[in-house]
């Protein structure tokens, strides 16, 4: 069964070693508007969000991966492969 995009976000969050709180703060720093609880729901796929909001979350994760020496493994909404 293909993996749901929003489950991918939570998997990346765990891989990045970020708590929900840390991810939220990074997302908030980038201008994200969802509350901490909403963000949890979004990364678990329980709450639908816009492509833009998805990209803000993806970028927050990607910056963490960049800090760890990686590239940008979390796809953005407009990537050819999709999020």
């Amino acid at each position: 069964m293909p993996e749901q995009p929003h489950d991918v976000l939570d998997r990346h969050r765990r891989d990045a070693g970020l708590s929900y709180g840390e991810l939220w703060l990074r997302y908030f720093e980038l201008g994200g508007m969802a509350s901490a609880l909403e963000l949890q729901a979004i990364v678990h796929g329980a709450l639908q969000t816009s492509a833009h909001d998805h990209d803000v979350i993806a970028h927050a994760l990607n910056e963490r991966f960049a800090e760890l020496g990686g590239n940008h493994p979390v796809p953005y909404a407009d990537d050819p492969t999709g999020p």
Partner: protein
């Protein structure tokens, strides 16, 4: 259009002639006056009656602190085998209770259509056990905050999101609400119920005009009953009207007695905000100010510092987005996408990419007084 806020002083009368004790609440119960209601409940409980009735027929406003006070009274009475009944709650209180998920406490008939509550739950009080919606959970966060146990940025965030949700739900005529905070002269939207209100805020920041800007600078409430007839903010008003906004009320927020932002509520209908709605807006703003002050007072903790550092990052990004929107005629989302791609391509953080964009521009958007322009340049730390 601006009028002073003179909230009705709270009066709680106790009638203990009968076996049960009736507390009649008159005036407004906000974060400050909730202590008086709490004292009255204590006095009533000390009489060990089989039941206490809180009559809200004369209550003009009750904020979350008041609801929590009643909830605490109900818990204490329940522990003593007694009951608490809330009677004649006005519509504004019912709306707030509904949003906070405490309707069973305030509106006993409201759960008639729901499954019966557990028999071991004599007070039908679910404030601690229900977490069905984000608002419920956020209201728990607010309750914790008002208990001065605030510890994390997430709680601040949840509180602000709760405030805008509550303001939209409780203020008659409201279609949306936002919280804007000012740091080093620059305003940013921290929480918004919808895109229309955050776009409206952005337009005010870009033009340096509007009720939110003025409320956050002057520390008093600004109300525009009809943007069609509005003359105070010529650069801002047309864009707000394009967004379908007809009426706005912006109430100042304070941290440690200094104006630091505004609670903004808009309506698509002209004349939507009656005096009572404007007073409600101010009361919400005051409750929010209590939260902000309590956070700011905890200057020792890393929470506030991390939160304000996050705000600075948001401001850097918002400024660059504004530059890109202005320069390329694109929307906010496309401006963010541009920064994101630049960050990925060059291997710098998105915030650094944003600062580069702002630095690269010499042409700044026109701002009232020219003061903000200096701040744009000067705030690159």
């Amino acid at each position: 259009m601006n009028e002073p806020d003179e909230p009705q002083q709270l009066r709680v009368a106790m009638d203990a002639a009968d076996e049960r004790v009736v507390l009649s609440v008159r005036g407004e119960v906000d974060s400050w006056s909730a202590a008086e209601l709490s004292a009255a409940l204590d006095a009533a409980i000390d009489r060990r009656p089989p039941s206490v009735v809180v009559d809200l027929a004369g209550c003009e406003f009750m904020g979350s602190a008041g609801l929590e006070t009643i909830a605490q009274g109900a818990r204490r009475l329940g522990a003593l085998g007694a009951t608490l009944e809330v009677r004649s709650a006005p519509p504004a209180v019912l709306r707030l209770a509904r949003i906070m998920g405490v309707t069973r406490l305030i509106e006993p008939d409201a759960h008639a259509l729901r499954p019966p509550s557990r028999p071991t739950d004599p007070l039908r009080l679910h404030i601690a056990s229900r977490a069905a919606s984000p608002f419920d959970a956020a209201s728990h966060a607010l309750v914790r905050t008002l208990d001065a146990a605030l510890s994390t940025d997430e709680v601040v965030d949840m509180v602000l999101h709760l405030v805008v949700a509550v303001a939209r739900g409780a203020v008659g005529g409201a279609d949306g609400a936002s919280v804007s905070l000012r740091r080093r002269g620059v305003l940013t939207t921290i929480a918004a119920t919808d895109r229309t209100v955050s776009d409206m805020d952005a337009s005010q920041y870009a033009t340096g005009q509007g009720p939110c800007v003025d409320a956050s600078v002057e520390g008093r409430r600004f109300h525009s009953a009809s943007l069609e007839d509005e003359t105070r903010w010529p650069s801002f008003t047309p864009s707000a009207r394009l967004l379908g906004i007809s009426a706005i009320v912006s109430s100042p927020l304070f941290a440690q007695n200094r104006p630091c932002g505004a609670l903004n509520i808009y309506s698509r209908r002209a004349g939507a905000f009656a005096p009572v709605d404007r007073a409600l807006a101010s009361l919400f703003a005051r409750e929010t100010s209590t939260v902000l002050t309590s956070v700011a007072a905890k200057g020792d903790g890393s929470s506030w510092e991390r939160f304000t550092a996050a705000l600075e990052s948001r401001e850097d990004i918002a400024r660059a987005e504004g530059v890109l929107m202005d320069r390329r005629g694109v929307g906010k989302d496309q401006a963010f996408a541009t920064l994101r791609r630049s960050s990925r391509r060059t291997g710098v953080t998105l915030r650094d990419a944003a600062v580069d964009v702002t630095r690269s521009t010499r042409r700044l958007p026109p701002r009232r007084g020219g003061e903000s322009s200096t701040r744009i340049e000067g705030s690159d730390a």
